[in-house]
């Protein structure tokens, strides 16, 4: 499909002999918010990290199958370039502690050795912080350390850092699990805004969050993609009994 941005074809992920993601086939459209949920150890994070080739950084971790980004297999591309195109935000806000808010936003350019003029950096910083709904709060303290911000602000700073590289896709690995409800709600509101320009894949343990923020939801169980459907359908009448058992808390 023309609108497809990411497609997994028979994707398998392993940790040594441990087969953690099994033959996943999934097709994700541009400007969609996708939630990935499932019990601990179901392979959802491994699948996410397979998309931007973070999985292979772990010793003994391997993968098989294809992840197509705009039709091109990421495993045939330069891994650094893949991560340049696919941003990632992690569970705990992780701004660089020794860098200022400003430097954190443009860290991707600095660390990749990309030369950007001061004027362009200013534009990138303002645009990224505005997109991450943080500009108004930090515009007068751009040169303070990022770690001075609250947890929710730090996470939005990490999102701004990801946006600064203008990725095609942003991966979120339980992005609000370390945040309080107010910060969680500001990050969730941000997802709705980011959707206009980016495609988001969010791994979450919080089912209500999946229901609130995503257009479609994928349910993983024991390494398999059990169900992938419209979020409303999934939370009102899931097709698979295992999905129903999981979302209604009847999992034994």
């Amino acid at each position: 499909m023309e609108n497809t941005i990411v497609k997994a074809e028979n994707y398998n992920g392993y940790f040594g002999d441990n087969h953690v993601v099994k033959d996943v086939n999934i097709s994700i459209n541009k400007n969609e918010v996708i939630a990935v949920m499932g019990p601990s150890g179901c392979g959802k994070t491994t699948f996410l990290r397979g998309i931007n080739r973070m999985h292979e950084l772990i010793p003994g971790a391997t993968s098989k199958g294809k992840i197509l980004l705009d039709g091109e297999n990421v495993y045939d591309m330069n891994a650094i370039y893949v991560r340049y195109k696919i941003g990632m935000v992690f569970q705990r806000p992780n701004p660089f502690p020794n860098l200022s808010i400003y430097e954190n936003v443009v860290a991707g350019y600095m660390l990749n050795g990309l030369k950007v003029s001061k004027a362009d950096k200013d534009v990138i910083v303002e645009r990224s912080l505005t997109s991450a709904a943080l500009w108004k709060e930090v515009k007068d303290s751009l040169h303070k350390k990022g770690t001075f911000l609250s947890g929710g602000q730090q996470q939005r700073l990490c999102i701004a850092r990801a946006i600064a590289m203008q990725p095609e896709l942003i991966l979120f690995d339980e992005p609000t699990s370390a945040l309080d409800p107010i910060s969680t709600s500001s990050v969730e509101a941000l997802f709705h805004e980011l959707k206009a320009n980016y495609t988001l894949i969010i791994v979450t343990h919080n089912m209500q969050q999946a229901a609130r923020v995503s257009d479609r939801t994928a349910f993983f169980y024991m390494g398999e993609l059990v169900e992938f459907d419209d979020t409303k359908q999934m939370f009102t009448n899931p097709a698979d009994q295992r999905t129903q058992n999981y979302i209604t808390g009847r999992f034994s």
Partner: protein
């Protein structure tokens, strides 16, 4: 069993208790009509308050479960269905009280022959059975039984449509019957509503168990 399952199971028991009370009210109103027993009719009116209390309690429990447990899928469908079944049952309770009120208000006894001729007795018996079977369908999550309600409601509708003709015949026989006949016609109109409420309940049972929406479809398409 999770806490949500426990709460849902308790809610289901509560709805069944309300159902039993409403059935009892409906049967007593019938008995009051047939025997022209004004004391029994008054008892129905007094107990109507208990039906209303049930409705409020079940509404509040549904609200609490929705707020505290954020149910999804079959649990969410059950709660949405429970809210509507609760409303429908309360209305059937109102209908039973309305019939009891006619017995109290009527200056003349209802004649058994007129009750038979007007088909109101047959209609009442069918309505009692329908109400009983919707409860069984709910308890056993039996959607086949729930679907059978749609056809049986047609029997009530037919009697309701033919009622003016029967009532006119009774009045023609003896103009003195006019008061009694108008009360009987009003009871028939109320019983027709019991059929509609039971159909709504049957639709909710099917929605809850099968996730199918049958509302606003012709009865033939509901099967």
């Amino acid at each position: 069993m999770t806490q949500l399952e426990t709460e849902i199971s308790a809610l289901k028991s509560e709805l069944i208790s309300m159902w039993i009370l409403v059935q009892s009210q409906f049967n007593k109103a019938k008995e009051a009509m047939v025997q022209f027993d004004k004391d029994l009719a008054r008892e129905v009116l007094v107990k109507e308050k208990r039906v209303n209390s049930f409705e409020l309690k079940i509404d509040r429990d549904c609200e609490n479960i929705l707020a505290l447990h954020c149910p999804v899928a079959i649990d969410l469908r059950f709660l949405l269905a429970a809210l509507k079944i609760n409303t429908n049952l309360e209305r059937i309770g109102d209908i039973a009280a309305g019939i009891a009120m006619y017995v109290i208000e009527s200056p003349v006894n209802f004649d058994l022959k007129a009750l038979e001729k007007s088909q109101v007795l047959r209609m009442y018996e069918e309505a009692v059975n329908i109400l009983m079977d919707t409860r069984t369908a709910f308890e056993k999550e039996d959607t086949i039984l729930a679907r059978s309600i749609f056809k049986r409601d047609d029997v009530l509708d037919k009697i309701n449509i033919e009622a003016p003709e029967y009532i006119a015949a009774i009045i023609r026989e003896d103009i003195e019957n006019i008061n009694e006949s108008l009360y009987i016609l009003s009871i028939i109109r109320k019983l027709e509503r019991v059929g509609d409420q039971s159909m709504n309940i049957a639709e909710e049972i099917i929605f809850y168990v099968e996730a199918k929406i049958l509302k606003h479809q012709e009865s033939l398409n509901k099967e």
